[in-house]
């Protein structure tokens, strides 16, 4: 009978992703490019937020957008109309982007002549939170139609981000969304979280978000 030899390995499986992500982060820092990872559930208003963000900042910085979806290029086409460089990444059925896919995407979009790259991650509150993409900062969008209990249900997402946008406040009168509760739940998970209630459609509250992003892009270039 064949003899089985046991080889001790003791190596982290997830480190692989974290290591690639760290290399990406260093590379972007060296090129003075800020990568923002934007996450949320489907339909929370990511694409409209991206478009309004580009329009607010395009005279100050060179912006690129990476749209990640399982299929289609509807988002990339919409974003490209702003004049920003946009590419579409297909995850081929996968629920998130990992650092390996990000590396390919960053090589494709070309990072050297961009100041800000926005990654619009796959719409999902679960898996994208678990994979470091090499982003400089991360933001999540919660639209008020989704309910104020989401931080209780998807805690990791609220823990890993630097900022949270509460979107669609222009629809507040139609929903029983409790602004105080959602902020308390989220802050409990992440005491340093910055929170921006706004409407990507009407522009209400949008300036505070843009100020935060502008300040963070500037800080990363120091």
């Amino acid at each position: 009978m064949d003899k089985v030899r046991i080889i001790e390995i003791k190596k982290s499986v997830l480190d692989d992703n974290d290591r690639v992500a760290d290399v990406l982060r260093k590379r972007l820092k060296g090129e003075n490019t800020f990568l923002l990872n934007m996450m949320s559930s489907p339909g929370s208003g990511k694409t409209l937020t991206v478009i309004r963000t580009i329009n607010a900042l395009k005279d100050e910085m060179r912006i690129g957008v990476m749209e990640a979806d399982i299929d289609s290029d509807v988002d990339a086409v919409k974003v490209a109309e702003t004049g920003a460089r946009a590419i579409q990444l297909h995850t081929g059925g996968m629920c998130h982007l990992d650092a390996g896919m990000m590396e390919q995407g960053l090589n494709e979009i070309g990072t050297k002549d961009l100041d800000l790259i926005i990654l619009e991650n796959v719409g999902n509150l679960v898996c994208p939170a678990e994979f470091d993409t090499g982003a400089t900062k991360s933001v999540m969008i919660l639209s008020i139609c989704e309910g104020h209990d989401k931080p209780l249900k998807y805690p990791l997402m609220f823990r890993v981000v630097d900022a949270m946008i509460i979107n669609k406040i222009d629809c507040a009168q139609f929903f029983d969304f409790d602004f105080e509760k959602v902020q308390a739940y989220a802050k409990k998970l992440n005491p340093d979280l910055e929170i921006f209630p706004m409407s990507a459609k009407t522009g209400e509250g949008f300036d505070a978000w843009i100020d935060w992003l502008r300040r963070n892009v500037a800080d990363s270039m120091k």
Binding site: K3, V4, V13, L14, M94, C95, E130, P191
Partner: protein, 116 residues
């Protein structure tokens, strides 16, 4: 379904180690999975046979051991074992905590057969 990409990565790692150790094939892979990693062992088992098809791991056994979670409260300096989703400190109820263990996934060892 991020378990699929996780299976692909650890199978690739196991293959690399097997090749480095001149294995003819791999018969067993032992993983250690953290309690609060958010990774479902059931799905790892489910995807494993498909991923190893046609590799030197084909037909091998997958064993998954659990690593107990351990969290340190930075507010009151207690170390505790949290429940699955709630990392809150049981002593002072603070959420300011550092996870010491239980979030990771490791390949502990592989069993190989050497060429005869």
């Amino acid at each position: 379904m991020h378990e699929m990409s996780i299976v692909v990565s650890f199978v690739k790692m196991a293959e690399d180690f097997a090749v480095k150790n001149n294995a003819a094939r791999v018969v067993k892979v032992v993983l250690q999975l953290g309690e609060i990693s958010g990774i479902e062992p059931r799905y790892l088992h489910e995807f494993y046979p498909t991923v190893i098809e046609g590799t030197m791991l084909e037909g091998s056994e997958l064993v998954i051991e659990t690593i107990e979670a351990s969290v340190f409260c930075t507010n009151c300096a207690t170390t505790y074992n949290p429940t699955k989703s709630d990392l809150k400190c049981p002593a002072c109820e603070s959420e300011r905590c550092d996870v010491i263990d239980g979030r990771g996934l490791y390949i502990k060892e592989i069993g190989i057969i050497e060429p005869s």
